[in-house]
Amino acid sequence: EPEVTQTPSHQVTQMGQEVILRCVPISNHLYFYWYRQILGQKVEFLVSFYNNEISEKSEIFDDQFSVERPDGSNFTLKIRSTKLEDSAMYFCASSQPRSYTFGSGTRLTVV
């Protein structure tokens, strides 16, 4: 079964630092997503990406966030100048019609 791979599984960073979360989507999927889950709470949509551009983003996805597909396989989420409230589990997902797969997540802790 193809998987969406996320690295690292856990990252600790100091407030104000930049972090990059990495994802390798399933190779024949065309749509890519990032979601966020603050500990034990609702899973919230951040952004979707298709055809090398953002197709939709939520209110959470402000100028602090950016996404990129730098090399045709990786899909990254960059958070500039992290804040304490960015501490959460970040899930990557990829999809194509009739198939939708989540990665196992990156737990980001901002201290």
Partner: protein
């Protein structure tokens, strides 16, 4: 815009009893509905989905869900609960399957009491 409601934050069920975790949704057009389970400090694990066809959908670990269009519901069920079913359960909806975001409910914490 689509939305999902999981009216119960917490559900407690005795081991061996049937369980139901409730979910109602709102979406334009035909809904695509999903259930995910999350164990402590783990990712989202797919349980089952409704795309089209039979209203009763069978999934992993003996779970099933019934799609009810008139009540806009997609309740998760299992005939006999196990202690290992204790986890956080999320219902999600999308207006399309495979090219749009999922919108999640707030989650229901299921506790199975031995």
């Amino acid at each position: 815009a689509q939305s999902v409601a999981q009216p119960e934050d917490q559900v407690n069920v005795a081991e061996g009893n049937p369980l139901t975790v409730k979910c109602t949704y709102s979406v334009s057009g035909n809904p695509y509905l999903f259930w995910y389970v999350q164990y402590p400090n783990r990712g989202l694990q797919f349980l089952l989905k409704y795309i089209t066809g039979d209203n009763l959908v069978k999934g992993s670990y003996g779970f099933e869900a019934e799609f009810n269009k008139s009540q806009t519901s997609f309740h998760l069920k299992k005939p006999s609960a196990l202690v290992s079913d204790s986890a956080l359960y999320f219902c999600a909806v999308s207006p399309n399957f495979g090219n749009e975001k999922l919108t999640f409910g707030t989650g229901t914490r299921l506790t199975i009491i031995p």
